[in-house]
Amino acid sequence: MNKIPLTSISKPTRGAVGKTGFWRSFKPVIDQSKCVHCLQCWLYCPEGAIKRTGSNLMTVEVDYEYCKGCGICANECPVKAIKMVLEE
């Protein structure tokens, strides 16, 4: 059993309130063929749920474990490469 610290201090943890991906009703889907790698979606995601991948870290991918489906990325994408799709 993990012992508690001697006072109310907390440690940095991913998913502090769980896998917030469960919150969403709509999920963003990135059409990589349209993406111009401007990184606006990465910049504006309040959750930091857009990952930068690829050899030069300019490819963007959604972290569906934590994405809350707010839709800001889709709204801000200058080339409308992201669509909000109803979750099954």
Partner: protein, 315 residues
């Protein structure tokens, strides 16, 4: 890395200047589309985690998540509602007394904990010139307790304690802070994150009390869909409802898109901002007219400040 000299242009920072590392870990407790969560993420990138954050009671208290977990990859001192500025003064003094000089002390407080219950402590810290960066992220009501009005709520806005719209105008905290003659006062908007980051970095290079007021449009509180946060903030600036400026050692300068808006014809009518938000839905045409006039008068005041700033620079 995009470090900024004091006096530099705040729009010079680009996305490529930002570290990839996340200092706010995903899976926090914020609402979808939350500007405070985004703001903390930007703050982390601005100072690369080399700071101690003091957080009074506000949405960001909850956003951290519950014990024993936290979303913040930097130290946070949670403190009582009215006490953020003085607790930060204490943190700064404690660090200095122990010879730790390379850690910033930053307050991250809501508009309630700044304009209302926290104003006294903030004013005291500013008068003493305590070495802190005080950031007020302003969602224009006591959001954490359920959207009650604050001194920073704008005229006409619905809140749970102003059901027919607030009858008073927004308290101008940045100019109150400027009257304390502190070395740096700035306004920012979450829709212009690079401008915000540049201002944070500029503040970090100065000694004394630095104040940054960040507009943070709140989807559940302002009544707009969660994907419009950035758009609403952008319109706040483009209609002139919110001006981006900095006052560095007493010299007032508009920044970014606000520079062009001294020309009234370049400002969009505030109606374009208001119509996006459910909290203004009940406003009558008369009230909107009154608010438009108020905004225009405010900009004449800014014009005078800009002129004064230019004159001072020429001295």
């Amino acid at each position: 890395m995009g470090k900024l000299e004091a006096g530099g242009d705040t729009m010079k920072i680009t996305i490529k200047d930002l570290p990839i590392k996340e200092y706010m870990l995903p899976g926090n407790a914020s609402c979808p589309g939350c500007p405070a969560s985004l703001g903390l993420r930007m703050l982390g990138k601005a100072l690369e985690g080399k700071f101690i954050l003091v957080v009074p009671a506000c949405c960001s208290t909850i956003i951290q998540g519950p014990f024993p977990k936290t979303s913040a990859n930097f130290p946070i001192l949670n403190i009582a509602f009215a006490a953020s500025a003085s607790a930060a003064s204490g943190v700064a003094a404690g660090l200095e007394a122990q010879g730790k000089r390379d850690v910033q002390v930053v307050v991250w407080a809501g508009d309630g904990g700044t304009a209302d219950i926290g104003l006294q402590a903030l004013s005291g810290a500013a008068e003493r010139g305590d070495n802190i960066i005080y950031i007020c992220y302003d969602n224009e009501a006591y959001m954490n307790t359920g959207i009650q009005r604050s001194g920073a709520t704008p005229y006409g806005a619905w809140t749970t304690t102003t059901w027919t719209g607030k009858k008073e105008f927004k308290k101008d905290v940045p100019l109150i802070m400027a009257a304390h003659k502190i070395p740096y006062v700035a306004t920012a908007c979450i829709s212009y994150p690079l401008d915000f980051i540049a201002k944070v970095r500029k503040a970090a290079e100065m000694r004394g009390t630095k104040y940054i007021h960040l507009l943070a449009p709140c989807p559940p509180g302002w009544r707009f869909p969660s994907d419009k946060t950035i758009e609403v903030g952008r319109l706040a600036v483009l209609t002139g409802m919110w001006a981006l400026y900095e006052i560095e050692n007493g010299i007032f300068k508009l920044t970014g898109p606000s520079i062009a808006l001294l020309d009234k014809s370049k400002r969009k009518p505030i109606k374009e901002y208001i119509k996006l938000q459910g909290r203004f839905a009940r406003m009558t045409d008369e009230e909107i007219e009154k608010l438009q006039k108020y905004v225009d008068e405010q900009w004449e005041y800014y014009r005078a400040l800009v002129e004064m700033g230019k004159a001072k620079t020429q001295e």
